[in-house]
Assembly symmetry: C2
Homo-oligomer: 225 residues x 2
DNA sequence: GGAGTGGTGTGACGCAGGCCACTGGATAGG
DNA sequence: CCTATCCAGTGGCCTGCGTCACACCACTCC
């Protein structure tokens, strides 16, 4: 298992070596291929997962079958926390968008763990609080911004987390189809495509399959707000 | 100060009498009149508040001055938690929608408090996790539901929390203007008004100033999903 | 009383963006 | 290789809802 990632994960950054070693005993590892589903909305389950490698999408399906993505998560990020506190069914479906691996921990083990270690509890709170803040931001965007604005915002967020700067711009291998990108910003595939094409025609970015190269990040930022 | 409400507040429901008495020493009380602002988005501040009496709206303002409400909070509910974990500026503005009173607790006191009492920490986590889940639900609604659907949902939520059942229906004194209701569901005042008028013309509810009487809650529920 | 103010009710108009329909390229599976 | 499937790109139509523009209270405050 990849210790490096775990030690950098926000949740465990406060741990000393001894504690980290002790923790590893409770963890188990899972691997998925692109497209595989880790769990479905409505499943029961109480494990907390941390992404070691790859990316997943966290989505929910409406009653009439349409889908909407809450988040794209990469290495170091956790999910499945919600079922820890109200132990109901899973509130979303988690699907791998690339081959991916995870460390996971049972509800029970985590709670045992938290009791003795207030700094970990605080880390967990900070994680969830951050997610809440972000969810609120997304709400505001859905109300205030148009689709191109939300697409720009999503690209910038993905660039922040997965981008690599080269001399021809920031390469963002988001690994998402335009359909998925559309579900992430809450719009139709067609409209997202048109927004992307428009950005490209202005020279702000270049489109590549499942990735973009951002060439003028300042303009994109201005479009996003 | 109203002990009853405090003891029922989800955050402190796990406390025994001794602990509750000890806590009261750290609390201070605040009162507001309808329309008064407790704090603004961007203010610094690290107090956690618990509503004792009345209602508040938690809102944020977009760069071009339009407003959007994240939540309406009533007795027993807390707010201001976010600044506890990343101690940045306030992420929203809190305004009283009725005369209201609050108990508050400083960041520092709360953290001191949490360390010895894992059950309170867990209560706090559960609260925030619940809010996160709710924020995600709102996101899905903004993507999937039309305005009338969101209005119906908002009314049902308000009815759940503030409604009183009488023989002519469920009386919901939400204390919101239609403008505020519109900001809550992310729509214009006019469209919300038309949705309400439509519901009323179907006999599902009756409109009264700053309140509604829901007469056919099942139909309203069906319209909401 | 009259005038201002804040909330509610309604019609008309325009447009962002959803939905549909189709094209073409790329990848996979036989 | 050929076919099937998936994904990206683009145009056209239609509608939900935002915006504008009013009218009509129900108040408070002179």
């Amino acid at each position: 298992m990849d210790n490096e990632v775990l030690r950098q994960a926000p949740l465990f950054s406060a741990l000393d070596d001894e504690a980290a070693t002790a923790l590893r005993g409770s963890l188990s590892e899972t691997k998925l291929r692109r497209g595989d589903v880790l769990f479905h909305e409505g499943d029961s389950g109480d494990r907390l997962y941390i992404v070691l490698d790859g990316k997943v999408k966290l989505g929910r399906t409406s009653s009439d079958g349409r889908e909407n993505l809450l988040a794209i998560l990469g290495p170091g990020q956790m999910f499945g926390e919600l079922s820890l506190f109200d132990p109901g069914p899973r509130s979303g479906t988690v699907t791998a968008v690339t081959d991916a691996s995870f460390a996971s921990l049972s509800h029970e083990d985590l709670l045992k763990w938290l009791d003795g270690r207030p700094e970990v509890a605080r880390g967990l709170l900070a994680q969830i609080a951050g997610r809440l803040r972000k969810a609120n931001d997304v709400n505001a965007d859905l109300v205030f911004s148009d689709v191109p604005g939300r697409v720009a915002k999503a690209l910038l967020d993905l660039a922040d987390r997965f981008g690599r700067t080269a001399d021809d711009g920031v390469h963002v291998h988001h690994d998402l189809t335009q359909e998925e990108l559309a579900q992430l910003v809450g719009a139709s595939r067609e409209t997202v495509n048109k927004a992307l094409a428009d950005f490209a025609s202005r020279g702000w970015l270049r489109l590549e399959p499942r990735s973009v190269v951002i060439m003028d990040i300042d303009r994109l930022r201005r479009r996003a707000r």
